[in-house]
C-alpha cells in the first residue's frame, strides 16, 4: 500500500501513499501508523502521519535507512481491516461576531449570508486526517464545497487559542495561540490539548470524527476551559 519509501535526510523514512487527499488514502496512513507504533520497532523515535505521507524518524545510532526500509516494507496490512473509527467528538462553538473574525470576508467572497455559511459548516461530521503543527491541532475535513476559500493573503501574527477556522477543504482548531492564516469562524471553550494529561493529551486523534455545534456567548463563558 505504500507506493514508495525514500529517505528524508539520513535519519528518516519518507513513506509516500500517493498524492490524493481523501479519507481512503488517509486511512491507510493511519493504519500503518498504528501498526508500526504498536510494534515498538527498535530505533524508531517518531512517527508523523499526514494526509498521504508517513514520516518515520529513527536514531542513526541504532538503525539505518536501508535496514529500517526493509522492515517497513515487510509489514503487511490487509485492506479489509480498514474500518472507520465510530467515535464522534462534539465541539461546542460560539460563532458570535466577537469570535467569527473572518465571517464578513467569507460572506462577501463566497456570496453567502453569515447564516448560510454557518448552516453549511455546523452540525456536519468531519474526519480527522492528522494532528500537529502545533500541539494537538486537528486537521479536519471535508467541508462543504460552497464554503471553501483559500487562506488569508496576510496571515495573522496571533490567532487566539480556541479559534476554529476553515481553509480549502479543511477545518481546524487553534489549540494554542499561534500565527496562522485560516479563516476564523468562531471559538471553542473546550480544551483540545491538555498538558497535564500525559496519557491522552489530545481530545481529537487521527481517524476520529468531529462535529461543531453552536453555543451562545453565555454558554461559552460558562464552559471556558481555555482561560
Amino acid at each position: 500500500m505504500i507506493k514508495n519509501i525514500s529517505n528524508l535526510g539520513d535519519a528518516a523514512l519518507y513513506c509516500d501513499f500517493g498524492n490524493d487527499v481523501d479519507q481512503k488514502t488517509n486511512f491507510k496512513v493511519i493504519k500503518y501508523f498504528e501498526n508500526i507504533k504498536k510494534q515498538n520497532i527498535k530505533g524508531i523515535t517518531n512517527l508523523t502521519p499526514s494526509y498521504n505521507k508517513l514520516i518515520i524518524s529513527f536514531d542513526l545510532n541504532v538503525v539505518n535507512f536501508k535496514e529500517l526500509k526493509t522492515q517497513i516494507e515487510d509489514i503487511k496490512i490487509s485492506e479489509n481491516k480498514i474500518k472507520q473509527n465510530q467515535k464522534i467528538i462534539k465541539i461546542p462553538t460560539c460563532c458570535d461576531d466577537e469570535f467569527a473574525l473572518d465571517i464578513e470576508r467569507l460572506s462577501s467572497k463566497l456570496n453567502l449570508t453569515k447564516k448560510e455559511i454557518l448552516e453549511k459548516y455546523l452540525n456536519k461530521e468531519y474526519f480527522c486526517y492528522m494532528t500537529g503543527f502545533i500541539a494537538g491541532m486537528p486537521f479536519l475535513g471535508d467541508i462543504d464545497k460552497k464554503i471553501r476559500l483559500e487562506r488569508l493573503e496576510t496571515p495573522r501574527v496571533k490567532v487566539p487559542k480556541g479559534a476554529v477556522g476553515i481553509t480549502e477543504q479543511f477545518a481546524n482548531i487553534y489549540t494554542f495561540e499561534s500565527p496562522g492564516g485560516w479563516n476564523i469562524l468562531g471559538s471553542t471553550p473546550t480544551k483540545i490539548f491538555d498538558q497535564a494529561n500525559e496519557k491522552q493529551p489530545t481530545l481529537i486523534c487521527p481517524g476520529d470524527r468531529v462535529l461543531f455545534y453552536e453555543i451562545n456567548k453565555k454558554e461559552y463563558f460558562k464552559i471556558n476551559g481555555n482561560k
Binding site: 517518531n46 494526509y51 514520516i55 502545533i134 500541539a135 499561534s178
Partner: protein
C-alpha cells in the same frame, strides 16, 4: 540534609532546561526539542559526573547570572562561552570545559557566547525538576517540559538534587569547530526547483538572519526559484529539513520546529553537521554542499566516534 539552591538574578536571552529531547510525540504536534548542540550538552553532563540525559540549562547569546542561595554547587559550562565567577567576593575569569565549586553567596555570570549561539550549564547531581511527556526538555510554545514549560525567569529558584564534589578537577581540552559549510542531502521536493537555483543553492553563500531561534533558521541569499508549486500538501517535518516558501528564502527546521509543514523541501542537513549548524550566529554566512546518503551515514559514524572519544577523555 543540606539544601543546595540557586537563584536566577538575570535570566539571559533564551535560557531553558533541556535534555536529550522527547521522542514519540510528533504525531500529536510536539517537536523533539532537546539540547540544540547535542555534543556540548553531553560533555557538560559528563564534566560534572551526571547521567548522560540529566537536564542542564541551555542559554543563547547571553546566559543567566546565578547566585548560590544556599549550600554548594559543582558546575561546568560547555560551548564557546565567556563567563565570570564571584567566589568569596573575588572575581575570576571562567574557563569552559572545566569543573568548579561554588558556595553560598558566590555567583556565576554567563556573559556571552563567542561567535556562536548556544552554551550549557550543568550542575553535579542535576536540577530537581519534573519530567513532562518523558523528558525535561522545555518547549515554550506548547508549555511543556521542566519549569512548567517556561523559559527560566529572573528571581526563580532551583534546587540541586544532591551536591557532590567528587568530580572536581575534571576538565577537557576541546575547541569547537567553526567551519561554516554544511553538508546536505537532497530533499523530497528537490525537483520543484529550477536547475539554476539548485546550482546557486549548493555553491553560493547564504546569510543567517536574525529571524533564527530554536524553531528555525531563516536564510537570505540568491532567491530559490520554484518551477512547480510553492505549496505542497502539509506533511511531517524533521529537524534539519530546508523548506523554501514562495518568497524563495530557505528556512531550516531546528529542534523546536512545527511538526507539520506545507512548503517544498529542497534539502535536509545531515545529522553529523547539525550541532555545528545550530551554533552559527546571525550575520554569518553559510554554504551548502550536496552529498549522498552513504557518505552522510559514514560522516555520522565519524561524528559519533569523535563524541565518544571526547567523552571518554573526561
Amino acid at each position: 540534609m543540606e539544601i543546595n539552591k540557586i537563584t536566577v538574578l538575570r535570566e539571559g536571552i533564551n535560557s531553558t532546561f533541556q535534555d536529550l529531547g522527547r521522542s514519540n510525540f510528533y504525531h500529536i504536534g510536539l517537536p523533539f526539542s532537546g539540547a540544540m548542540d547535542k555534543r556540548n550538552y553531553l560533555i557538560s553532563n559528563k564534566l560534572v559526573g551526571n547521567k548522560y540525559n540529566e537536564a542542564v540549562i541551555e542559554f543563547a547569546y547571553q546566559g543567566p547570572l546565578i547566585k548560590i542561595e544556599d549550600g554548594n554547587i559543582n558546575f561546568a559550562i560547555s560551548g564557546d562561552v565567556k563567563f565570570n565567577l564571584k567566589k568569596n567576593g573575588k572575581l575570576i575569569n571562567g574557563d569552559c570545559y572545566k569543573n568548579y565549586n561554588l558556595s553560598k553567596n558566590d555567583e556565576v555570570d554567563i556573559i556571552s557566547t563567542n561567535n556562536s549561539v548556544y552554551g550549557y550549564f550543568a550542575v553535579s547531581g542535576g536540577f530537581d525538576l519534573k519530567k513532562n511527556f518523558g523528558s525535561f526538555s522545555t518547549h515554550v510554545r506548547s508549555n511543556i517540559g521542566a519549569n512548567n514549560g517556561n523559559k527560566i525567569q529572573k528571581d526563580e529558584k532551583f534546587f540541586i538534587k544532591d551536591f557532590n564534589d567528587k568530580h572536581a578537577n575534571k576538565s577537557l581540552k576541546y575547541m569547537n569547530s567553526k567551519i561554516e559549510y554544511i553538508r546536505i542531502l537532497k530533499g523530497t521536493n528537490f525537483d520543484y526547483f529550477f536547475e539554476q537555483s539548485i546550482k546557486e543553492f549548493t555553491s553560493k553563500e547564504f546569510l543567517v538572519t536574525k529571524l533564527s531561534d530554536r524553531m528555525g533558521m531563516r536564510l537570505q541569499g540568491p532567491k530559490i526559484k520554484n518551477l512547480k508549486d510553492t505549496n505542497i500538501r502539509s506533511e511531517g517535518l524533521i529537524k534539519g529539513v530546508i523548506q523554501v516558501p514562495a518568497d524563495g528564502n530557505p528556512i531550516i527546521m531546528l529542534s523546536d520546529h512545527g511538526t507539520i509543514g506545507g512548503y517544498p523541501k529542497i534539502g535536509v542537513v545531515i545529522s553529523a553537521d547539525y550541532d555545528r549548524l545550530v551554533q552559527i550566529p546571525p550575520g554569518k554566512k553559510i554554504k551548502f554542499e550536496l552529498i549522498e546518503l552513504k557518505e552522510a551515514e559514514k560522516l555520522y559514524k565519524l561524528y559519533q566516534m569523535e563524541t565518544e572519544n571526547l567523552l571518554s577523555q573526561i
